[in-house]
């Protein structure tokens, strides 16, 4: 019958002002530390899962490590691999050897690329980072500008605004990439179709990735934007003589981007998987292409390496989002939940 709230808002309210600056700093540090510890656990879990995947598969794990059945590894290679990974030892010992190798940054040797996995990743990480981070920034830019322009601008404009967001969020990236290529590269010839370094080469692939993400971010931003514009502090600001653009930019926007910031960690992950498609479509170098090759050529060390790197990116993105969130929402810095 009774549904008591655990901490009454009044109490929380009373306690907040009492927090000293020292406590706040400690709190903020504690939170990042928590994230880092959590991240290490996630990475360890990812490493363990990939290890299990290799060892639970039927057949000789040495063959998998050496490049899969398809590469017909030589006896000598198999022996070398067995020695390197300690495959003649019990599984638990192998596991620790594997973890030790990872800690030293030794991700094994890629048979398909004929070089250490770490080197393959090093060569390809920059173009993918450019592509995904560029896409994320572009997605945010599109979502924010679109919201600023179309939220609460009368029924027609607002409907067009939210309609386009739903449409773009639902567009398959592969199809979108082909359309963009067709129009801007082949037809109009404004941007290069393939390769292309520097900013000009980045435009079409980034757009391909960014547009659907912008649709998602736009939807959550719009909803928050609309409710922010209804709030009394907006009326307060208007009553001080602030114009429509003023309240949008200085007051509502900050509240509106908060849920999108939370989604950005997820968005970065989805961008990396999207990179697999986009990099092959636009013939770009990058981790996505490497992953595709690793999988199609059954190059186990390469696949594992890329999967672990993606896990690292996820973890780093989560921590970055937490830090970013505190920058955007000062309430977290001071009151500390």
């Amino acid at each position: 019958m009774t549904t008591p709230d655990l901490v009454s808002p009044a109490q929380a309210d009373d306690l907040a002002p009492a927090l000293g600056a020292g406590a706040r700093r400690r709190h903020r540090f504690g939170r990042v530390l928590q994230d880092v510890v959590g991240g290490v656990i996630v990475l360890w879990g990812a490493a363990t899962l990939t290890f299990l995947a290799v060892h639970l598969m039927p057949g000789n794990p040495a063959v998998a490590y050496a490049g899969g059945v398809g590469s017909h590894p030589s006896k000598a290679l198999l022996a070398a691999v067995s020695k390197k990974y300690g495959l003649d030892h019990p599984v638990i010992v192998q596991y620790f050897i594997y973890l030790g190798n990872l800690l030293h940054g030794d991700l094994g040797y890629s048979a398909s690329q004929q070089m250490p996995v770490a080197s393959v990743i090093k060569l390809n990480v920059a173009p993918t980072a450019e592509l995904t981070l560029g896409s994320l920034l572009l997605a945010w830019l599109l979502a924010v500008v679109w919201s600023l322009l179309t939220v609460r601008r009368g029924r027609i404009i607002s409907s067009i605004g939210s309609g386009l967001e739903i449409l773009t969020a639902a567009v398959p990236q592969y199809w979108l990439g082909i359309i963009l290529l067709e129009v801007f590269a082949f037809h109009l010839g404004i941007f290069p179709a393939t390769g292309g370094t520097g900013l000009v080469g980045l435009v079409l692939p980034s757009l391909t990735l960014a547009i659907p993400i912008a649709g998602f971010l736009g939807q959550v931003t719009r909803e928050e934007f609309e409710s922010a514009l209804e709030q009394p502090y907006i009326t307060s600001a208007r009553a001080r003589g602030m114009g429509d653009w003023g309240v949008r930019l200085r007051h509502a926007l900050r509240h509106a981007v908060l849920p999108g910031v939370t989604l950005s960690g997820w968005a970065l992950g989805s961008l990396i998987s999207g990179a697999v498609i986009v990099e092959s479509l636009f013939s770009r170098n990058g981790l996505g292409n490497v992953l595709l090759q690793g999988v199609t050529q059954q190059d186990m060390p390469l696949t594992i390496g890329v999967v672990l790197i993606v896990a690292v990116v996820y973890v780093v993105a989560t921590i970055a989002v937490d830090i970013l969130y505190q920058l955007v929402d000062p309430r977290l810095r001071s009151a500390g939940q």
Partner: protein, 576 residues
């Protein structure tokens, strides 16, 4: 009832109308009202929610809302406001007309330091360079009585207490010293002493020769501040005139009803709402004091309750400190105090949802807090609870029927018996069967609180803990709900622990009173004694800060019943 059309008016509204929507769907919210306010004068516009008073306030700033159609005359300092373009409005807002909204927690941007909010009108209207603006911010915070203004200016609204927050909001409105200040419910939701301070601040601005329009649902709040009062109902001003006339000799029945609805010492033992309001049966007027036959055994005793919480900074705070009291059958124990006084935590300990660190509560003479939940469970039905905001304690997807059915004890019988009992409960709280299929969101504030009361009654409790049960309600709805509590007590012999920050409500309802501050009980005793002859300086301060309708009118309020209690109250005299 004269609409002022003096030339000396700073602002004059003539036949002002505001409607929303168009064609058949058009709804006129303000239906032709006329009023005026002079420099150095305060006009209070009083009415219930939905009376159109807030829309009126916003219209004076050109902020009536999207799709609002405004007609009629609106003259400010010789300028016709009705024909202004948005650009021209912006040159008036904040500079010549300042606006203070209700509840600073949501009226200040929660993610910006208050100093930046106060600097905003200065920046918008080009008040000097950045450093000069900052100096002015500090000056303003100092002016509105915020201590340590340099530090406070850098804090977020959420880090300030309610009173400081409201002062900061006032600072944003007076930053450019506007000729006219409009305050919409400036003190609602504030503790009584803070309320008095805020009203004092507004009075200062009036003394400096600024015109003031105060919007409120509470006549008592505006009584001391206003020179003139306009009573609004359904978009019309039903009565308007000098404060003394309107409050002292109300002409309109609605004004009288508003005045009668204010719970206070005089209203004890009387009904607050008009007789035609939904009620159990015809007003069985309560006895002013319940001290019949030799004191019966207490239903509930609290002995030496202590509760400490560790704050996020690691410091331990004692929220409830050595609190002891008793509650007899059929008795109402009022617990009054400001926020942070520990009154809510005390209520939670009585409900056994918070465990005391020391001391214990006994129910029917047997242990209540010191036992396991499994042992307590079968006896939980004896104590019910009603909160301030019933909406958050309802599942919004449940119908009223389901909410009440859920609260019925399992042994309440089959479907037919349960339905009959649910109908009975609804009737007890003055609601009809037609609400059975309604969801909470579609109920009015008063109806929601009635459903919450019905839910508390469902397991046939002996005690109900009421935590600020009427604080969120308009004064006339509040009156009806308070009457309902009194009727239910008469009929069912309930005991109440009535927690409120509103001294009027506590005085109206309680047989005995606990006054709490800082977790301690500073005064405890018979309601008449505590309110009539307060012993502790804190109680005196609370009473002195209490806004009172009759504080200004020596003649008292004609036509108000005060049959049982003496009118003389030394502490209140001092406040006048």
């Amino acid at each position: 009832m004269t609409a002022t059309t003096h030339d000396s008016n700073l602002l004059t509204a003539t036949d002002l109308r505001v409607s929303f929507g168009s064609g058949d769907a058009a709804r006129e919210v303000v239906r032709g009202i006329s009023f005026g306010v002079r420099p150095g004068e305060c006009l209070a516009i009083v009415g219930q929610s939905g009376s159109g008073k807030s829309v009126t306030a916003r219209t004076l700033l050109g902020l009536a809302g999207d799709g609002a159609q405004v007609s009629g005359g609106l003259n400010f300092d010789g300028q016709d406001l009705t024909s202004l373009r948005e650009r021209q409005w912006r040159a008036i807002r904040g500079v010549r007309i300042g606006f203070i909204l209700q509840d600073a927690l949501v009226s200040l941007d929660s993610v910006r330091p208050v100093g930046r909010e106060i600097a905003e009108p200065l920046r918008l209207h080009r008040y000097g360079p950045r450093s000069a603006r900052w100096r002015r911010v500090i000056e303003l915070l100092d002016q509105v009585g915020v201590p340590e203004p340099e530090m406070r200016a850098r804090q977020l609204p959420g880090e300030l207490s309610g009173g400081l927050r409201q002062r900061a909001l006032i600072a944003t409105a007076i930053a450019l010293d506007p000729q006219l200040l409009i305050a919409d419910e400036p003190t609602t939701a504030l503790d009584v002493t803070i309320q008095a301070q805020i009203l004092g601040l507004l009075a200062q601005s009036k003394q400096r020769g600024r015109a003031l329009i105060v919007i409120s649902h509470d006549l008592a709040v505006v009584a001391r501040l206003a020179d003139r009062v306009a009573v609004m109902r359904d978009g019309l001003i039903v009565e308007q005139g000098p404060t003394q006339d309107v409050l002292g000799r109300p002409q309109h029945a609605y004004t009288r009803a508003l005045l009668d609805a204010i719970p206070s010492s005089h209203s004890r033992g009387t009904r607050l709402s008009p007789a035609d309001a939904p009620a159990l049966r015809v007003a069985p007027v309560r006895k002013a004091t319940v001290q019949e036959a030799a004191a019966p055994a207490p239903l509930l005793t609290a002995d030496g309750l202590v509760k400490r919480y560790k704050g996020p900074d690691g410091k331990v705070r004692t929220v409830v400190d050595d609190v002891s009291f008793q509650l007899g059958p059929g008795e109402t124990l009022g617990v009054v105090g400001e926020s942070g006084s520990g009154k809510t935590t005390t209520g939670r300990i009585v409900l056994a949802v918070t465990k005391p660190d020391r001391g214990e509560v006994r129910l029917h003479g047997r242990p209540w807090t010191g036992i396991s939940e499994a042992q307590r469970r079968p006896r939980r039905r004896y104590i019910g609870v009603v909160y301030q905001d019933p909406l958050s304690s309802f599942d919004p997807r449940w119908t009223v029927q389901r909410i009440l059915s859920d609260a019925l004890p399992a042994e309440a019988g089959g479907a037919a018996a349960r339905t009959a009992r649910i109908r009975e409960l609804l009737h007890q709280v003055g609601l009809g069967d037609d609400l059975l299929d309604r969801r909470p969101l579609l109920l009015s504030g008063g109806q929601r609180q009635r459903v919450a009361i019905a839910r508390a009654l469902a397991p046939e409790p002996e005690i109900i803990v009421c935590d600020e049960p009427v604080s969120a309600l308009d004064v006339s709805i509040q009156a009806q709900v308070l009457d309902l509590f009194a009727d239910l007590q008469d009929q069912l012999g309930l005991s109440y622990i009535f927690i409120s920050h509103d001294l009027g409500v506590i005085h109206h309802m309680s047989d005995r009173v606990l006054v709490m501050t800082g977790g301690r009980i500073v005064e405890q005793g018979d309601a008449e004694q505590v309110f009539g002859n307060p012993q502790h300086p804190y109680t005196e301060r609370l009473l002195a800060a209490l806004p009172k309708v009759d504080a200004l009118s020596p003649a008292g309020l004609a036509g108000r019943p005060h049959p049982t209690t003496p009118r003389r109250e030394p502490a209140l005299e001092r406040s006048a």
